[in-house]
């Protein structure tokens, strides 16, 4: 699992839960919330889809790491690797 592949996984999940958002120009270092309309319900869904689709667990205290695509990749890539992905 590379960081780029990890970012793509997160983008795919967002595309799935928020199909009405344009994801073509998402800046990796800017907060996702500032680039599209994502509320707390949507963030909960990102976390739950990570668990459902990939078996990756994100405890509530760590939600802060999902703020930007870059921080998602930093935080999630080791978790994917630990799962042998």
């Amino acid at each position: 699992m590379t960081k780029d592949a990890c970012k793509q996984i997160v983008l795919d999940i967002i595309a799935d839960i928020a199909p009405d958002e344009d994801l073509s120009n998402i800046k990796p270092d800017v907060r996702l919330r500032d680039q599209m309309q994502l509320d707390s319900m949507d963030f909960l869904d990102i976390v739950m889809e990570l668990r459902k689709q990939h078996g990756v667990e994100v405890p509530e205290a760590d939600y802060i790491h999902l703020a930007t695509l870059d921080s998602c990749a930093e935080y999630l890539t080791p978790k994917f690797i630990a799962l042998g992905k």
């Binding site: 799935d16 009405d20 309309q37 509320d39 319900m41 909960l44 869904d45 739950m48 459902k52």
Partner: protein, 480 residues
């Protein structure tokens, strides 16, 4: 027969809230079963057929409509949470609605899904009130209506700070109350804000085939996600052990157990299921709503446009000096009401309802209807049907001839508070439930939660969001 099975979540009621909650839970891998006493899904927004003709039960119009691309709206949240594509609901916006007050509707405010229309109407009819109206709208727009712990405030009081003409005040409250208020005379301001946004700042829409389209989408999502459902199989008792809902006794006598139980049938109705086992001394039962409704449905052999009724989608009316939203001592209160012409949505060319429909809803008294024996009940229905229709006609454009409506009528139907109790199980025929809402859905039982009408989100979109948010809050996001 005493088969036993265990679910992660058991949901009582296959209405909008139950189905929406079920979709969320099943999608995230929970083993879910919905138990529904009726043979059709939908609850308060169900459907039926008589003589091969299809009728919707509750739906006049779906509120909360926003154009594609508008983000952060309740409809948008709902579509995302249920992974429903906007096109699947196939919603078509209303043409135009009106609020008509006075003995013959002399004062009229038109509104559409474009809020500027209502604003200009208020400026035209109530020029001295327009600044106050705009100030009120600013407060509504910025109010945090999803807060679960807002301090309750009187909507009448807040509105009166900005609007000093009681006619305009009543004209704004009439639609907002008729489309969702469980309390008489006044509303909690947060509820007012939710309804004001849903009706005026957002708008009305409907699929050509009505509520069935919405239900078909929900049922299909639920099935695909792996949810189970048992129809004609209500829950008759909740077995309580150690402060928890330990098991559900079904109508057929069998028992099921579930880690979580989500009840969408109402607060007092749910309480009754477990209070058999749990006699709480001196505890007051949850209050039952006092507001019920009659609706007359007139099926026409032509489109309403052929009677000169081409423009109105919904008409909210009142003939008296003040608008009274309260339980009537008589069978029905035809002084005010709501007219719906389901044909008058902006349907695509070539798509329309096969027949004309003219529906009128008025406040009604459940106990008055329930006390009538069968022959009197039938006679009363016929009499009140006439009263409601005559009252409503005063607010519609004049017919081409006085008998034009009678000649165009090919079938009629009517529901009363008694009908509502019979098919939905809601005590008192109170379709908006109890005046006491439980926003966090908690009950005295640790693993039993409420969703739907008595949780307090309103309308069809509100009911679905209620199911979604309670499923999220109590089950999906709950700490293990």
């Amino acid at each position: 027969m005493n088969t036993s099975s265990h679910y992660d979540v058991a949901i009582i009621g296959a209405g909008m809230a139950g189905l929406a909650a079920g979709i969320r839970l099943a999608h995230f891998g929970k083993r879910v079963c919905i138990f529904e006493r009726h043979n059709a899904p939908g609850g308060l927004n169900s459907f039926y057929a008589i003589d091969g003709r299809k009728y919707d039960v509750g739906l006049h119009a779906m509120t909360n409509w926003v154009p594609p691309g508008v983000k952060g709206s309740p409809l948008g949240k709902l579509l995302r949470q249920l992974r429903v594509d906007r096109e699947e609901f196939a919603l078509h916006p209303q043409k135009r609605s009106r609020i008509a007050f006075g003995p013959n509707g002399e004062t009229s405010l038109a509104f559409t899904n474009d809020f500027a229309v209502l604003e200009s109407e208020v400026a035209r009819v109530f020029p001295a009130q327009i600044d106050g109206f705009r100030a009120l709208v600013r407060i509504v727009r910025t109010y945090d209506d999803v807060s679960l712990d807002a301090r309750p405030e009187s909507a009448r009081e807040i509105v009166r700070r900005h609007i000093t003409d009681t006619l305009l005040e009543d004209m704004l409250f009439c639609p907002v109350m008729y489309y969702g208020s469980a309390t008489e005379h006044d509303m909690e301001f947060g509820q007012f804000v939710i309804m004001f946004k849903a009706l005026f700042l957002e708008g009305f829409a409907r699929p050509v085939d009505g509520v069935r389209v919405i239900l078909r989408v929900l049922l299909e999502k639920y099935r695909q996600a792996g949810g189970e459902r048992r129809m004609r199989c209500g829950v008759k008792r909740i077995v309580v052990r150690e402060g928890r809902a330990a098991a559900l006794v079904l109508d057929d006598g069998s028992e099921v157990a579930a880690t979580h139980v989500l009840s969408t049938i109402g607060a007092a109705e749910t309480e009754k299921l477990y209070s058999v086992d749990r006699a709480v001394p001196n505890a007051l039962p949850h209050p039952v709503g006092r507001l019920s409704y009659c609706e007359t449905i007139t099926v026409l052999d032509r489109q309403p446009a052929a009677l000169g009724w081409a423009d109105d989608t919904i008409v909210f009316f009142n003939d008296s000096p003040r608008f009274t939203y309260a339980q009537t001592p008589g069978l029905a209160d035809a002084r005010s009401g709501v007219i719906c012409l389901p044909n008058n949505f902006d349907f695509p060319l070539g798509q329309s309802l096969p027949e004309g429909l003219f529906r009128c809803t008025c406040l009604a008294n459940h106990d008055a209807w329930a006390s009538l024996a069968e022959p009197e009940y039938r006679a009363a229905k016929e009499r009140v049907y006439g009263e409601i229709q005559r009252s409503a006609l005063r607010f519609m454009p004049g017919l081409p001839a006085s008998d034009a409506l009678a000649r165009a009528t090919i079938a009629t139907d009517m529901f009363t508070p008694k009908t509502i109790v019979r098919y939905t199980g809601h005590f008192g025929g109170a379709i908006y439930g109890s005046p006491k809402k439980i926003r966090d859905g908690r009950t005295p039982l640790a693993n039993l939660y409420l969703a739907g009408t008595d949780q307090g989100f309103l309308g069809i979109v509100g009911a679905m969001l209620s199911g979604i948010s309670m499923a999220n809050f109590h089950v999906l996001a709950a700490k293990a």
